[in-house]
């Protein structure tokens, strides 16, 4: 517990001033469900001089549809997304959100916080990657957008600069695609994924036309499994499910001998289930 100063900004401008002043010496507390525990156990590096609590920045709390995407503000919680009619169109996202923690965690935890934490098994990050989401980063020098594929650089590491804030998450609206999320975990409640997959699918009848596959907990970062997508495109759902079964995508990078064989064996099964589930939604839509 080394932090000496506490900031409680009320506006983005004020927030960015503090970030600019302290850079790596300030730790941002959003929902706090990960970072507060790490603060208590001295696992925030480098030890921060200041803590900045950002949940009173009301202008970061929104979900709205604009310019072909749904925009989710930087302090918007999972619970707000789960009850948002705008988010309901993203089946895979809703399924992932429902798997996160428990209701009291979802009340306060945020997708932006989870992106900052960059856990390789994070449920929401896998869903957002499959849906083609991007994040808008703000700093005193301006804004830039990063796709989910560009975002993560290692376990608990992102490409964010230390003066940058995750201001907004943008999820493109795609009326012709459906998505599904499947999580394999030991317990039903409050567990961390052993393998998770999100599939975003555009199908013509039973044939998979466009597909994005993202995987959680199979590499140091959430990954997009293009090698698997190539096996799925232009196949019928049944053929695609058969093709991915037992396939270990080159994007997976499993090193722990404790679970490598098991995870490699189940990746294809989980992706297959997600393909079927996403396709069932396509059928349901017609």
């Amino acid at each position: 517990m080394t932090a000496q100063t506490f900031y409680n900004p009320a506006s983005i401008a004020e927030l960015l001033d503090v970030l600019d002043k302290f850079k790596e010496k300030v730790v941002i507390v959003n929902g706090g469900t990960d970072v507060v525990e790490r603060l208590q156990t001295g696992r925030v590096a480098p030890p921060p001089d200041a803590i900045m609590y950002i949940r009173n920045v009301a202008e970061l709390d929104y979900i709205r549809e604009e310019n072909g995407h749904v925009a989710v503000g930087g302090i918007t919680s999972y619970a707000e997304m789960l009850s948002s009619p705008l988010c309901r169109q993203f089946g895979g996202l809703m399924q992932a959100l429902a798997e996160i923690g428990s209701p009291p965690i979802r009340t306060i935890a945020t997708p932006a916080g989870n992106i900052g934490t960059a856990a390789p098994a994070a449920d929401c990050n896998a869903a957002l990657m499959a849906l083609g989401a991007s994040v808008v980063l703000a700093s005193k020098t301006g804004e830039r957008a990063l796709s989910f594929e560009e975002l993560f650089s290692g376990p608990q590491k992102t490409c964010l600069r230390r003066d940058e804030l995750i201001r907004e998450i943008r999820i493109p609206v795609n009326k012709t695609a459906t998505s599904a999320f499947i999580k394999l975990a030991k317990r039903k409640a409050q567990d961390i994924a052993q393998v998770s997959a999100c599939v975003c699918l555009e199908a013509e009848g039973d044939v998979c036309k466009n597909v994005v596959v993202s995987l959680g907990a199979v590499a140091p970062v959430t990954v997009r499994a293009r090698s698997m997508e190539a096996l799925i495109v232009n196949k019928t759902v049944d053929d695609a499910v058969a093709a991915v079964r037992g396939f270990v995508p080159s994007e997976a990078s499993l090193r722990s001998p404790r679970n490598k064989a098991y995870k490699e064996a189940v990746i294809g099964v989980i992706v297959g289930r997600a393909i079927k589930k996403a396709h069932a939604e396509t059928a349901g839509r017609k």
Partner: protein, 156 residues
């Protein structure tokens, strides 16, 4: 350098000088002696430290006290009194939803927040609502019964 936080705790206004990284469970237990708030896992997983913040059930072990400026916090001590239990407390006593009692404050406060939003939850909704509260004694059957009983008591 301490931060001065003004908040309402169990209906009373408090001005607390706290450390920036101090958690709410520490402030409630150590500064105010509200030991009905239990600290167990310290990671937000077990639910024993649950308190109500502006009516929402939250984990006080992963909340910074410094962020509670202007908030209204209710602990189990503020829900009812020994002579005048809250209906959720009464229901847990009557249905035997308590064994060792360690998880009970968190269970009751989580159940209260759930019932305020959903006055007649199904079994599945209760189990989902309490999925973040761990009990190592009861096996949950009597806890689910207790929440149903509380719902009946609180029905208008």
């Amino acid at each position: 350098m301490s931060v001065e936080v003004t908040c309402t705790i169990n209906g009373e206004q408090h001005v607390l000088p706290v450390e920036p990284a101090e958690t709410l469970v520490e402030s409630l237990r150590l500064r105010l002696g509200l030991t009905g708030v239990k600290k167990a896992c310290g990671t937000g997983d077990c639910g024993a430290c649950t308190v109500l913040v502006d009516g929402e059930a939250l984990r006080s072990c992963i909340l910074l006290t410094a962020s509670m400026q202007g908030k209204s916090i209710t602990t189990i001590e503020g829900l009812g009194t020994p002579d005048n239990l809250h209906p959720v407390q009464e229901a847990f006593v009557e249905a035997g939803g308590i064994q060792c009692g360690f998880c009970t404050p968190g269970m009751i406060l989580t159940a209260k927040a759930m019932l305020d939003k959903n006055p007649r939850p199904s079994d599945a909704e209760i189990m989902e609502g309490l999925s973040g509260n761990l009990c190592r004694c009861t096996g949950y059957v009597k806890i689910v019964d207790s929440v149903h009983r509380a719902a009946e008591k609180m029905a208008p």
